[in-house]
């Protein structure tokens, strides 16, 4: 009788939940007064957001001469941070789109928060190229539109313009995907609310009723959005890598960059999801929905992508040697043993060595290890972008223009400030919307709830048998 359920299936919802329990558990964080942890975290995050605003006003007022970027190292912290944030923004759509296509049920526990994280990370990423333009009030020049300057158009052959299209498409499609998934859950919050809260959620839930035909279209839409978001998510970091790969700078113009960047983006994105999920499940008490099985599944993705990234690093070194091209060889020698050697070793340790610990099942299933290693991976991925950008530029073709780069307080404030921006947005999100997709969790309850599968299942054995039928 337990044969109705395949033994490989993991329990994804613990605690013998009913549908009503799920609604209750996932809606209450939006309904009750914020906890003390939330208030402290919010105060801290918004303080950094304030720092960000100050540093941005400073930059715009005084000009980007206030940054440490110079003639030789003209892309420095700003582009490093841009690529870092964009990479982090890759896990959300990967979880919601690719895992939907692969029918991975564990995505339901984490997809909502991961998609929100994607959107906030892309917002943070967008700050850097915009303010790096210097005269930010002319930033609208990046969009092609009929104008009085000729009409002078943008250069559609430039990877930097491809970036504009890729990132704005990615942002808006992720937003649609996320919000469409959110509408039924906002309706759940609406139907529990009274007074002005009900009015607000009525507006934001668009009048959702849960009609069978609406659900059918909703599923069709989700599936097609997932289908087109899958190549989209792969294209975005590919195009970001083109910023480097189509240049003529040794160390940048390598054909390995697109897959290497995409793997790195998924790697860092999952690491950031882990950091946030470990905190969120603890603070909001969602351990029964974001289980150790979810964490383990994500750690498996981290060890896979971390290993891909490691292979890419070694391939780069090998190809530099094998090419017989002295400029390429010098670029990579300099990367490893040059002035920024410490960032190369930091990158190697955090990205290649540390995730290998996840081969151990007990480390993979340990919340503390997961948190610690996910932070290390994010540090490592920041170093990776710094290594690619600053190390390469610091030693260019002309030894007379060789230079060294140190960030100024303005750049440090902008970077830490975007972390504040990110967490401010995330913390607001945890207060206004369910952080876990309620409807999607309910839909997998009978195939992943612990009363239906696993050791507790026997008392519901007749219930489990029914489960087989609706599968398709």
């Amino acid at each position: 009788m337990s044969q109705a359920v395949a033994p490989v299936r993991h329990i994804l919802i613990e605690g013998n939940k009913s549908y009503h329990n799920i609604t209750e558990d996932l809606c209450t964080p939006t309904e009750k007064a914020p906890s003390r942890e939330w208030v402290i975290a919010f105060a801290l995050a918004s303080a950094f957001l304030g720092l960000y605003l100050f540093a941005i006003v400073w930059t715009v007022w005084k000009g980007i001469g206030e940054w440490g970027a110079n003639r030789t190292i003209n892309w420095a912290w700003d582009i490093t941070n841009f690529v870092w944030w964009i990479g982090i923004g890759h896990a959300g759509t990967l979880i919601s789109a690719i895992l939907l296509l692969f029918r991975q049920r564990w995505r339901t526990g984490v997809n909502r928060a991961a998609e929100a994280m994607t959107i906030f990370a892309v917002i943070c990423a967008g700050q850097f190229p915009i303010f790096h333009m210097g005269r930010v009030w002319l930033a609208f020049f990046i969009f092609p539109f009929p104008n009085t300057r000729g009409p002078l158009w943008t250069n559609f052959n430039s990877p930097l313009l491809w970036d504009v299209f890729a990132i704005s498409t990615y942002f808006s499609v992720s937003l649609l995907f996320w919000y469409t998934g959110l509408v039924p859950d906002l309706a759940t919050v609406r139907d529990r609310a009274t007074g002005y809260r009900r009015k607000i959620y009525e507006t934001f839930s668009f009048g959702w009723t849960g009609s069978a035909k609406h659900w059918q279209r909703w599923e069709a839409l989700s599936l097609v959005l997932a289908g087109i978001s899958t190549p989209l998510v792969l294209s975005v970091h590919t195009i970001v890598s083109f910023d480097f790969a189509t240049s003529v700078i040794p160390g940048w113009h390598t054909t390995i960059f697109p897959p290497y960047f995409v793997a790195g983006a998924i790697f860092s994105g999952f690491a950031m999801v882990q950091t946030l999920m470990v905190l969120t499940r603890k603070v909001l008490g969602l351990q029964e929905y974001i289980t150790i099985n979810h964490i383990e599944s994500m750690n498996k993705v981290i060890v896979l992508t971390g290993t891909i990234v490691g292979v890419a690093y070694l391939t780069e070194l090998f190809i530099a040697w094998y090419s017989g091209y002295i400029y390429e060889q010098f670029a990579f020698y300099n990367r490893v043993f040059g002035i920024y050697w410490w960032s190369y070793f930091g990158m190697m340790f955090c990205n290649v060595v540390s995730p290998q610990l996840f081969w151990s099942r007990s480390i993979r299933r340990s919340v503390w290890w997961t948190f610690f290693l996910s932070v290390l991976v994010n540090i490592g991925m920041w170093f990776e972008r710094f290594v690619i950008i600053a190390t390469t530029l610091a030693r260019d073709y002309l030894p007379s223009s060789w230079s060294y780069y140190n960030p100024t307080w303005v750049e440090i404030s902008i970077f830490t400030g975007t972390i504040g921006l990110f967490f401010t947005l995330y913390l607001i999100f945890t207060r206004v919307a369910p952080v876990i997709a309620i409807a999607e969790v309910k839909a997998i309850l009978k195939v992943a709830g612990d009363q239906y599968i696993g050791p507790n299942a026997k008392k519901h054995a007749d219930g489990a048998e029914k489960v087989e039928e609706p599968k398709h």
């Binding site: 000729g150 609406r190 069978a212 959005l225």
Partner: protein, 176 residues
């Protein structure tokens, strides 16, 4: 949306299996179900309700094609006739360089077009007041609704009996 009010008789079930059983029974008795409301997408509901597959993805393909052609033809027009510029000694009409933007706009048009179509055909929009029969339908109740505006008392009694025999947890009537 219908403007005049209608009488809706609805029954709430506690489980999606009870709901599906009830729909099958309603089909067998040739009852005309107005709509079914559930808190989450219930698998296997569409065929027994006789819902045809959504055609949204065909529209998605059309929107995507429009985006693709728009991007490619606009770039072609700009770089070959409106303002031709030589970049790096490449031909004016350098097709490979157009691929990334063409792809992005294909996705952008398909996603926006489909999503806006979805909200429009479902009548979902900010400011639309939800025609909620019961607050618990978005929580844990599965609902079958019958339009009984023009139904005779006999027919209503028959429907109530139907809800009774299919183990509905609650039966109510509501004017909307």
């Amino acid at each position: 949306m219908v403007s005049d009010s209608k009488q809706v008789l609805y029954g709430l079930y506690n489980d999606e299996e009870d709901l599906k059983g009830a729909i099958r029974a309603a089909n067998a008795a040739h009852l005309d179900i107005m709509d079914v409301y559930t808190p989450f997408p219930v698998h296997g509901l569409d065929p027994i309700l006789g819902l045809k597959e959504s055609r949204l993805h065909y529209l998605g393909f059309i929107y995507g094609t429009i985006g693709c052609l728009f991007a490619f033809l606009t770039m072609t027009w700009i770089f070959t006739s409106d303002w031709p510029i030589v970049f790096g000694g490449k031909p004016y009409w350098s097709i490979p360089a157009f691929i990334p933007i063409t792809f992005e706009l294909t996705v952008l048009f398909a996603a926006w077009g489909m999503t806006l179509t979805f909200y429009t055909i479902c009548g979902l929009w900010p400011g639309v007041k939800a025609q909620t029969l019961d607050n618990r339908i978005t929580d844990d109740k599965f609902c079958i609704a019958f339009d009984v505006t023009a139904a005779s008392d006999n027919a209503v009694d028959g429907l109530k009996q139907f809800f009774g025999t299919t183990q509905a947890a609650e039966v109510n009537i509501k004017t909307m």
